[in-house]
Symmetry: C2
Subunit: 322 residues, 2 copies
Amino acid sequence: MPSEFDLITRFFTRPAQGEGAVQLGVGDDCALIAPPPHESLAVSSDMLVEGRHFLPGADPKLLGHKALAVNLSDLAAMGAKPICFTLALSLPAVDDAWLAAFADGLFALADAEQIVLIGGDTTRGPLTICITVLGHVPFHAALRRDGAHVGDDIWVSGNLGDARLGLELLTHHRSLAAHHADSALLRLHCPTPRVSLGLALRGIASAAIDISDGLMGDLGHILQRSALGASIEADALPIGTALRSQDRQLQLEFALNGGDDYELCFCASPSQREKVLAASSTAGVAVTRIGTIEPIAGLRIIDLDGTQLPIRSHSFDHFALS
Amino acid sequence: MPSEFDLITRFFTRPAQGEGAVQLGVGDDCALIAPPPHESLAVSSDMLVEGRHFLPGADPKLLGHKALAVNLSDLAAMGAKPICFTLALSLPAVDDAWLAAFADGLFALADAEQIVLIGGDTTRGPLTICITVLGHVPFHAALRRDGAHVGDDIWVSGNLGDARLGLELLTHHRSLAAHHADSALLRLHCPTPRVSLGLALRGIASAAIDISDGLMGDLGHILQRSALGASIEADALPIGTALRSQDRQLQLEFALNGGDDYELCFCASPSQREKVLAASSTAGVAVTRIGTIEPIAGLRIIDLDGTQLPIRSHSFDHFALS
């Protein structure tokens, strides 16, 4: 069995790519980077555990993509430009084919985002992936959770709920037309971090979060940190293309409480609508206005006739699942 | 069962401490930090897995200390000043007493080093701890692995082998006088990262590494990256105080190939000897000169009479252990 050091060398060390910010990459006690002066460094860590965040036997190439994508999604939600990342990987056994495919998926996304793996740690153990991403953003342009104002529009990028429908396909064997099933599974396994949209929203959005645990739960964090409430128009929600084949109740449930969407939910003053749409166009990512920030605490889901629907937040929670 | 968010709030969110470099801590999509301009940011990630890096049932307070200590040891080996860290924690179940004790051990060391937890991720799964530390160091003062020169002295801090003796106590029930057993177990469970020594060696040491996998293996990384060899004088090795009670063969074996020492091994020109000793005095950490960097590849362990001892590197390797 190869040593830990060989494993990093074989699968995760790549020729230096001359990126300006990374001064010293994999292979020393620490990596050294030089972030742009006068900007803040944005840092986020996420851990993915087999059987909790992905099913046993998950395709390693898709897993490599997703592990990095969910971390980049946090940078996107901050309006930060990604620089580099570290990877800590616990594996039950050294499996060359698995590692090669995992590295393929990981580096394909890293290359697309022009970011570099700067450090690694591999160990034997239950399959667990921990990535820490670093990016940069001018401090006053960062899209925080605590910046929403009363009267702000609430927007979401892309569409919602298909990833959750994909999970249902895998775990409850829900039947679905083949093209819808493919589309839902793609959303589950291969999320696209909205990095370019986050960058384009600097100076426009007042607050932002990425939707990893469900819109209601994640928007709830903005409301909590901003000490405000909100109403969402149920019929304004952008429903996933596969999910549109299902009944309205399931559409709303999965769009509002689905999880694994990795879209951005953000707030912006109504005076910024044209700029929001221009940012959407620049980033090539659709955005939809779904509601309004209000002074009264709580998150209300409103029907077309103005009545409040009895939908409560029970967002995806790794500890609440049995 | 409390939600993931509550868990972070309850155990890992602390009042803002006004540290200059940390602009936004736990509770947003990313943390924001402002490292000193014109310095490099040093980054390292380590993952600790139950049953591999620590035994099932390990004391959570000691584990909190050790998980952070082994990461700080990487910053020390780079000559970097610690700023902050992220924590990703996978737990089989929410156990308040365990979490409180883990947080106690973690924050006691964090406070001693004046660093801040800036982000967290908690999930249910096999007990796994992944910490990423961030520090800063002027780029040209960083203690890299690739800077050793022919003729450099080789030094180690503290003493070696007691942690490995402690592991033997736990796993092979070796008998040992009580005070030696306590001392060996303390070294295993409660390593002291040599941060102040790393800082004091800036501009003095030509290369450095921390000894996590055993002196021979870790010094081997310096030799490989510097494309050089070395001789070590067996009788110059600083043997751990508990290990001194054992026979010479075990002393050498555990000092050279023990693992979990978290001392620094570093190189410096003979012209720097007085400065090395002054740095040792400043940091309050003993250092011992144990050998010399040589042009011929390989690492030779030399006896008092100049003969080479038949000791080979078989450093602690998480993947090589069955």
